[in-house]
C-alpha cells in the first residue's frame, strides 16, 4: 500500500470512529501527495460534515464531483447540504 493509500485508509478509520479532526489531518497530508483523487475530497466532505462545517463540506463534495461527475454519493451529500 502506498503512503497515499495508507492515509486514505487511515482517514476512513478515523471517520468510522467519529474522530473527524484526525481524519482531516490525514486527508490534508494525503492531498499533498495527490490532488486528483475524488475519493480524497469525498472523505474530506464527510469529515467536514461530521464536524458540522457545512461550508467546507460543500466545497469538498464539489471538488470530488469536479474530478468524478458520476460520484453519486458525493452528489447526494452535496444536494442535501444545499437544501439545508
Amino acid at each position: 500500500m502506498s503512503d497515499y493509500e495508507h492515509l486514505i485508509e487511515l482517514s476512513n478509520l478515523y471517520i468510522l470512529s467519529q474522530e473527524f479532526d484526525e481524519a482531516l489531518k490525514s486527508l490534508k497530508k494525503a492531498e499533498k501527495l495527490n490532488k486528483l483523487d475524488p475519493k480524497l475530497y469525498y472523505n474530506m466532505g464527510i469529515a467536514y460534515e461530521g464536524l458540522n462545517d457545512n461550508e467546507h463540506a460543500r466545497n469538498a463534495f464539489r471538488l470530488a464531483l469536479k474530478l468524478d461527475p458520476t460520484l453519486a454519493s458525493a452528489r447526494e451529500h452535496l444536494d442535501r447540504l444545499i437544501e439545508e
Binding site: 467519529q18 473527524f20 460534515e49 458540522n52
Partner: protein, 228 residues
C-alpha cells in the same frame, strides 16, 4: 378548547388564523375586507366581514367570550389601539397586538395589550442571529423568555456524559435530543453517514464530536451555552 379571535386578516393575521385552525382550535376571523374574509372561509370556524372598531358589533358577535384575541391591523395604528382598548374592556384575558413602531407598542401597553409583537422585526432578528452564528441551526421561540435551540455541541462538551456535564445545574437548560451522524462503511470501502436522533437522552449518553444538541431553556441561559 381554547378559542381565538383574529382581527385583521393581512399576511400576519391570516397566517396566524390558519395555523391555529390547523392545530384544531376554534378561530373567529374578522376583517373589513370581504375578499380577505372569503379567503378564510372553510379554513377557520367562522369568518366575518365587520368593522372591528365598532364595539357594539364586536359584543354582538360574542367576542367577549373568547380567551385570546390577536389584533393585526396592517395600516391603521389608531384602529388597533381602539380595538385593543375595547377588547380589554370586554374582559378578554389575553390580547396580543401587532405593533408598527416603538411608540405604537408603548400606547398599546398603556391600553392593556398583554403582548406586543413585531413580526417583521422578530423574523429579521431571528434570521440575523442564525446568519451571525454558524453554530446555531435553529431557534424556536416558546414564549418571550423561553425557547429551544439546535446547536452544534460546544467543544467543551465533547467526550463527556450528560450527567457529567450537569447542564441543568450549571446552565438551567435541558437536553431534549441529540442528533448524531453515525458513520458506516460502504461495500466499496468508502464511508458514509446515517443520522440518528436520540430523543430524551439519559445521563449516560456521551457527547461526541459532530453532535448537534437540542436544548430547552430560558433565552438568557441558552445564550450562555451559545457563547461557550
Amino acid at each position: 378548547m381554547k378559542q381565538f379571535v383574529v382581527i385583521g386578516l393581512g399576511r400576519f393575521g391570516s397566517s396566524i388564523a390558519k395555523s391555529l385552525s390547523e392545530k384544531k382550535f376554534d378561530v373567529l376571523a374578522i376583517d373589513e375586507d370581504e375578499n380577505r374574509v372569503k379567503q378564510m372561509e372553510g379554513t377557520v370556524s367562522q369568518a366575518v366581514v365587520m368593522d372591528a372598531t365598532d364595539e357594539k358589533a364586536l359584543k354582538e358577535l360574542g367576542v367577549a367570550d373568547f380567551d385570546t384575541a390577536i389584533v393585526s391591523m396592517g395600516e391603521t395604528v389608531e384602529d388597533s389601539i381602539m380595538i385593543t382598548l375595547s377588547l380589554k374592556e370586554m374582559g378578554l384575558r389575553q390580547v396580543i397586538v401587532k405593533a408598527k413602531s416603538e411608540l405604537h407598542a408603548k400606547i398599546l401597553k398603556r391600553v392593556g395589550a398583554d403582548r406586543i409583537v413585531f413580526p417583521e422585526r422578530e423574523m429579521a432578528e431571528r434570521l440575523a442571529d442564525s446568519l451571525a452564528s454558524p453554530k446555531i441551526f435553529d431557534f424556536i421561540e416558546l414564549s418571550e423568555t423561553h425557547g429551544i435551540i439546535e446547536i452544534v455541541s460546544p467543544k467543551k462538551f465533547i467526550g463527556k456524559t450528560l450527567s457529567g456535564l450537569k447542564l441543568r445545574e450549571k446552565y438551567k437548560v435541558s437536553v431534549i435530543a441529540i442528533k448524531r451522524k453515525v458513520p458506516f462503511s460502504q461495500p466499496d470501502g468508502s464511508t458514509d453517514f446515517k443520522e440518528e436522533v436520540i430523543i430524551g437522552p439519559g445521563g449516560e449518553n456521551e457527547v461526541i464530536s459532530g453532535d448537534v444538541i437540542i436544548l430547552l431553556g430560558a433565552n438568557v441561559d441558552l445564550e450562555k451555552i451559545e457563547k461557550l
